[in-house]
């Protein structure tokens, strides 16, 4: 007779008081916890299922501390020792990142926040952990804001907006003041603002200056609109045959009208505006460094190192 009873045999379910189950449950609780927890808190979760007292829980935890699988931390308030399955370094890192996630802080403020959770953390220890986090890119040291000598730390990299928003505000304020002064001499404020925009566009913020040296004048907006219309018209004509699926190369488009070739920078700016307005797609060339100078020149550039060699309508 065959011994087929093995097929139906299964392991008996472990009794709920199996010590291994209790330990597993305890360790799971510690793994899920965001911070070290006191024995009383842990016991609360275990009492219902396993009927474990606080003392018994503490005894189990002490045993694991001895084995090195759990770590003990100084009590907060009067709860008693706290326990966690991650070591001190981990805990310090977690506190530091949590505090700095909310806001960038100078180190002395951070020290105080850390002390609230881990009173016995030394200055040296804290600095070591911060250096480690900086090294792996989990923390960033922010540049000092002008006029401020305090170094701040953050979990996010520096945002340029934080540094130049004040400058921009002051510039705008200065231009507004100047426009009022010029208004007294009959120059409309709108003209002053248009001139400011045109000068800014010529600056390094927007890329190299236009070779045609188009000087800004109050009709520039109209001229630009006209250019955009012409571009769209030519684009429509060229993409009608759906060669390349409706894609038109910038070189081909630029060659349809003398104006597009002569007003090189204006053509580029017009196409960039059309893309920004969602009228067309611009297809970027991923590796312009592999191209010759003349090939790059035939493309549209935004002055930031991006080169676009194809255009299509967005619909």
């Amino acid at each position: 007779m065959s011994d087929v009873s093995f097929e139906s045999e299964t392991r008996a379910d472990a009794a709920s008081t199996d010590p291994r189950d209790i330990e597993t449950a305890l360790l799971n609780l510690l793994a899920e916890a965001q911070d070290p927890l006191a024995a009383s808190k842990l016991c609360g979760s275990l009492r219902k299922r396993y009927g474990l007292s606080t003392e018994a829980t503490e005894a189990l935890l002490v045993n694991h501390v001895r084995l090195g699988t759990v770590f003990r931390y100084a009590p907060l308030r009067s709860e008693g020792f706290r326990y966690w399955d991650r070591d001190r370094g981990h805990y310090l890192d977690a506190i530091i990142e949590r505090e700095l996630r909310a806001a960038a802080l100078p180190i002395h403020t951070l020290r105080g926040r850390v002390a609230r959770r881990l009173a016995d953390a030394s200055e040296t220890e804290l600095r070591e952990r911060i250096e480690g986090l900086l090294r792996v890119g989990r923390l960033h040291e922010l540049p000092r804001v002008a006029g401020n000598r305090v170094v701040r730390l953050s979990t996010k990299p520096p945002d340029p907006k934080d540094y130049i928003s004040g400058l921009i505000q002051r510039l705008v304020h200065a231009i507004e003041e100047e426009s009022l002064r010029l208004a007294a001499f009959g120059v409309p404020c709108a003209a002053t603002f248009a001139a400011a925009r045109a000068l800014l566009e010529r600056s390094a913020l927007y890329g190299p200056p236009a070779p045609d040296g188009v000087s800004p004048h109050v009709d520039s907006a109209a001229t630009e609109q006209d250019l955009e219309h012409q571009i769209l018209e030519q684009l429509r004509r060229l993409s009608a045959d759906l060669r390349h699926g409706g894609l038109v190369s910038t070189r081909e488009l630029r060659g349809t009208q003398p104006r597009f070739a002569h007003e090189h920078a204006a053509f580029d700016r017009a196409l960039l505006r059309l893309a920004k307005d969602g009228r067309v797609w611009l297809f970027r060339h991923d590796f312009p460094a592999s191209l010759t100078e003349s090939e790059r020149k035939a493309m549209v550039t935004d002055g930031r190192g991006n080169y676009y060699n194809g255009i299509s309508f967005k619909e």
């Binding site: 011994d3 045999e9 299964t10 008996a12």
Partner: protein, 353 residues
């Protein structure tokens, strides 16, 4: 705190004393289990259905293909990884490879028979592995401490067309019918599945040494030997109390059979074997069993003749069951066939003839 033993240490304890089990040979046994797991569909490498799926419907081609796969995917990586440990066992490695090839041939034979019977290419899941406990704790009455056995990788397999599970092993430097190994599997099965189990049936033991040998051993026989297997394990762990291996109440029924043990010893002397009874006899399932300690190096070569002699002299109705395990003789007598025996201080002469 328990005493820890690894499975290889337990196996060494069960073999006859004097047989050296080198670490490299133990390693090969473990590698064999890993290779077997992979070939029969339990590991990470492609299942045999994928390997043989695009092969011709030809038994020999299947064998060649599986052997090729076994070497490339299972054996070669392990040889490289464990080269330093296997260096001293180069000869055994050759035997190991031969054993793996025989394993492949046997596997394919099973699959081929299945194909012939069913008329289609065998599907996955034909070789079913039943895992046993990864570790096991023993604590017998009288032991000074528990014994925890770890590093258990043994398993039982249900092969195509078979009705009972079998154990598959590499056995390079052991001989005999494999009763020691079979006892071990029975012990592991008890520990893994403690619910009431069948007491009848056979345990198949397929060993590759490197040729394939298949033995079927009665489970009842294995159950009889469990106590002594545990005794040997306890001895290896050093948890046996000084004196009797098992403390027995002198007023127990076992005490009645002490003299019977002496008679057995006397019969053995007639065969030129100066043996002695170890501990108290065990009474189990209607039989009384004696553990006879043999002198080192002595092996009972004619158990059938011995059994006949005992049956005659003790006026038994059935011949006793005699097992030779790890340097010990286990003699089991039917309790119903309890003989009339005489008390004698020395120089007993048989009156049973």
């Amino acid at each position: 705190m328990a005493v820890y033993l690894t499975m290889p240490q337990v196996r060494a304890a069960l073999l006859e004393s004097g047989v050296e089990q080198r670490p490299s040979t133990q390693l090969l046994a473990r590698l064999f289990i890993e290779v077997m797991d992979e070939l029969l569909g339990q590991g990470r490498s492609p299942h045999w259905t994928a390997i043989l799926g695009d092969e011709d419907l030809d038994r020999e081609r299947w064998q060649q293909r599986l052997i090729e796969h076994a070497y490339r995917q299972c054996v070669a990586p392990r040889l490289l990884r464990q080269r330093a440990a296997l260096d001293p066992a180069a000869k055994e490695v050759c035997l190991f490879w031969e054993a793996v090839q025989n394993l492949c041939i046997w596997s394919v034979d099973s699959l081929w028979e299945r194909y012939r019977a069913r008329g289609r290419v065998p599907e996955a899941g034909l070789f079913n592995k039943i895992g046993l406990a990864k570790d096991l704790e023993l604590h017998e009455p009288g032991w000074t401490d528990a014994v925890r056995i770890t590093d258990i990788r043994e398993a039982l397999w249900l092969t195509p067309g078979a009705e009972s599970y079998c154990a598959i092993e590499l056995c390079l430097n052991t001989d005999g019918e494999g009763i020691e190994q079979a006892c071990l599997y029975r012990l592991l099965t008890h520990a893994s599945y403690p619910a009431p189990r069948a007491r009848k049936g056979m345990l198949r033991l397929i060993s590759f040494s490197p040729a394939r040998q298949e033995t079927a051993i009665d489970i009842a026989r294995l159950d009889m030997l469990q106590r002594h297997v545990k005794h040997l394990i306890g001895r290896a762990a050093g948890v046996l109390p000084a004196g009797l291996p098992v403390s027995v109440d002198p007023a127990s029924a076992a005490h009645n059979y002490v003299n019977l043990g002496k008679m057995l010893v006397e019969i053995l002397r007639n065969y030129g074997i100066e043996a002695s009874v170890a501990g108290m006899p065990a009474i189990e399932q209607g039989k009384v069993q004696f553990l006879i300690e043999l002198p080192p190096g002595i092996r009972v070569t004619q158990p059938e003749a011995l059994a006949d002699d005992i049956k005659q002299r003790l006026r038994l109705k059935t011949p006793p069951l005699i097992e030779h395990v790890a340097g010990h003789l286990f003699v089991s007598l039917e309790v119903r066939a309890r003989p009339i025996f005489f008390f004698w201080p020395t120089g007993w002469t048989s009156s049973a003839k």
